[in-house]
């Protein structure tokens, strides 16, 4: 019997079906794999609210497979280890449909070591859910015109009539000068990379409820026609994360970053996704 945190890992695994809250599992079905190192490989089959667990060598038929070591697994079940931190530390990985796996994990009642379930004072109720609310975002006239420009493969900026700085995406006013921006200017579409955020940490995207695929790159691009702080924020082709160079301007000294071009989506609707990402302009 192997114990972690004073608890037998085999008991944690074997009680999974009984801890599965069928009343909350309506409409969820599929196979989910658990690759738990020395604690073995398991397949959880969910259908019509019922969950069945069996050892399985081959997890290829699973919607998603979580791989971790037994200690991390038990720690997460007991609430002693935070799953997201475990992912950031790469002690836990999920292959396949992450979203589906995420919804499954919320359906298990917390594991209580044998003997502890009976005591009214020690059982602590913990509810886990994902709130998902539909939202409608209004573009307004300025952002609307900018986004429509993307449909035509144009990147637009607005210029402040007082300080002359460009903003893209544009704002109705220049916050520094406190005046209405008046002039529309087309910039780019190519430019040089000024900043790269090489993101390893997988976080939930509130716009979709899905966990972001990592690693990805969020970049600041100085588009042609822009200068100094007028960088454009978007994404980099994740396959090129290790090939790009950041540029900079420090005390007037210019160092040029990688030259980039946008990759346009085939089907453009007037949103940030009209540009898929930027890539090296080889």
């Amino acid at each position: 019997m192997t114990t972690y945190f004073g608890v037998d890992v085999a008991d944690v695994i074997e009680t999974m079906p009984s801890r599965f809250r069928k009343e909350a599992a309506a409409g969820i079905s599929g196979r989910f794999g658990y690759d738990l190192g020395e604690a073995g490989r398991w397949r959880l089959a969910v259908r019509d609210g019922d969950a069945a667990l069996a050892p399985a060598e081959d997890l290829d038929d699973c919607l998603a497979v979580v791989a971790t070591d037994p200690q991390t697994f038990v720690g997460i079940q007991l609430g002693k280890i935070d799953a997201t931190e475990a992912m950031a530390l790469q002690k836990l990985t999920v292959a396949g449909d992450r979203g589906a796996f995420g919804s499954i994990t919320r359906l298990f009642q917390k594991y209580l070591p044998p003997g502890e379930e009976a005591l009214p004072d020690t059982e602590l109720v913990v509810l886990k859910q994902t709130i998902s609310v539909g939202q409608t975002f209004a573009t307004g006239p300025v952002m609307g015109r900018f986004l429509k420009g993307l449909k035509q493969k144009k990147i637009l900026a607005m210029r402040c009539p007082v300080c002359g700085r460009l903003q893209s995406p544009p704002r109705e006013i220049c916050a520094v000068c406190r005046v209405r921006n008046t002039e529309w200017v087309e910039v780019g579409p190519k430019g040089e990379m000024r900043m790269l955020e090489y993101v390893y940490y997988a976080s939930p995207d509130p716009l979709t409820g899905e966990t972001r695929e990592t690693p990805y790159g969020a970049i600041g691009v100085l588009l042609d026609g822009c200068r100094d702080e007028e960088v454009f924020w978007h994404l980099l082709n994740p396959a090129q994360l290790d090939r790009v160079q950041m540029g900079s301007v420090i005390d007037g000294q210019v160092r040029h970053g990688s030259r980039l071009r946008p990759v346009w989506a085939e089907n453009r609707t007037g949103s940030i996704d009209d540009i898929q990402y930027f890539e090296l302009d080889d």
């Binding site: 976080s203 960088v231 420090i250």
Partner: protein, 401 residues
Amino acid sequence: MARGTKNRHVGIVGIGETKFSSHREDVNQPEMIHEAVRQALDDAGIGIQEVDCVVHGNMELFEMVHQPDLWHVLGTGAYGKDSFRITTGGTTGGTLVCAADNLVASGMYDVVLAIGFEKLQEGHTTGGITNMADPLWARKLQSGALTDSAAVKLIEEFGPERAKRAAMTYRIIMDQHACLNPNSHRAFGLDWDQMDDLMADSPPLIGNLRLIHMCSQSDGACALIFASEERARRMAKRPVWLRDHITVHREETLNLCTNYYPNNPTHRFAAEQLFARNGIDDPLDYFDVFEMYDPSAWWGVDWLRDFFLLEGDAHLKLVEDREIAIDGRMPINPSGGVIAANPIGATAMVRVAEAAKQIRGDAGPHQVPKTVRHALASSFGGTMWTVLLMLEDELNGWGMP
């Protein structure tokens, strides 16, 4: 920046802090808050009846509950009292202090209870912060409070070797302080000889920002009681006077511009304004301790230069020579700072609470080993929002016309 004068002085007379942790399953939100409120009332030696007004805050919607101040009446003591809710992102705790100060200084209320809290285990911190960004553009690109920009900036200026060592030196000193503070969430007991391993092996979050550099995500609450000079002098412990505070932000930073350079940080502007109007030429000399809101070790190092109006590599030297340690020339975060505990809605208030404890001399194991008469505290929030606050031991002519 234009600013009037107070109608009367304001003192901090009661301090309450819960232990910060990540597994407070035994309490719901109002119960957790009540722990801090009870401590603050006991510390001030008053009952809830003597409180005129309650100001309450946290990061809006982080626990997926709107307007939690209504529910929290079950623990805050706000029943039947005037109450305000303030939520300004990471600076919430500090802004609550500013609000309480203004409410008492104005003459409208004699005793104000300020409460900041967060129960980050009930939400998702990074997702919640990402949700604050512009939904049509930045929300898809931002990942919470995580950024490599501070590291890139330091590495550009000082080279990778020196910059990385400085950040890790800062980190270890903060951990040493955390080990002295029984309320810390994370105190690892890091050793100097772990430095190279940590720099190489700690999992990267974004670029050069590694897990070891980044602040905690904690559950916790902080409560402070503010009183007018006359009431403060009648209350039990010795009051800590709130001398002045300033709030500066650059709203557009996160929505549209990426935050590399020449990113005019609000910190220097805030420091210049605050110190100039208080006649302080040399803040490094004037202040005895600084509880700085340091969301990451990189920012902690970087912002020292701006807050103390330094130039060149003077701030790196403060770190390298360990002057920022608890027994150094300018102790930074004897509490362990934000890296050791970050219940966001409370965090900025905890900086003020800890600075106040230092002035009172009762911080306990993490008390700075010298007389503390002038303390500085800062708050930080997403859009380069800075609140800078000055606390004093004595009223000796400052602040009144």
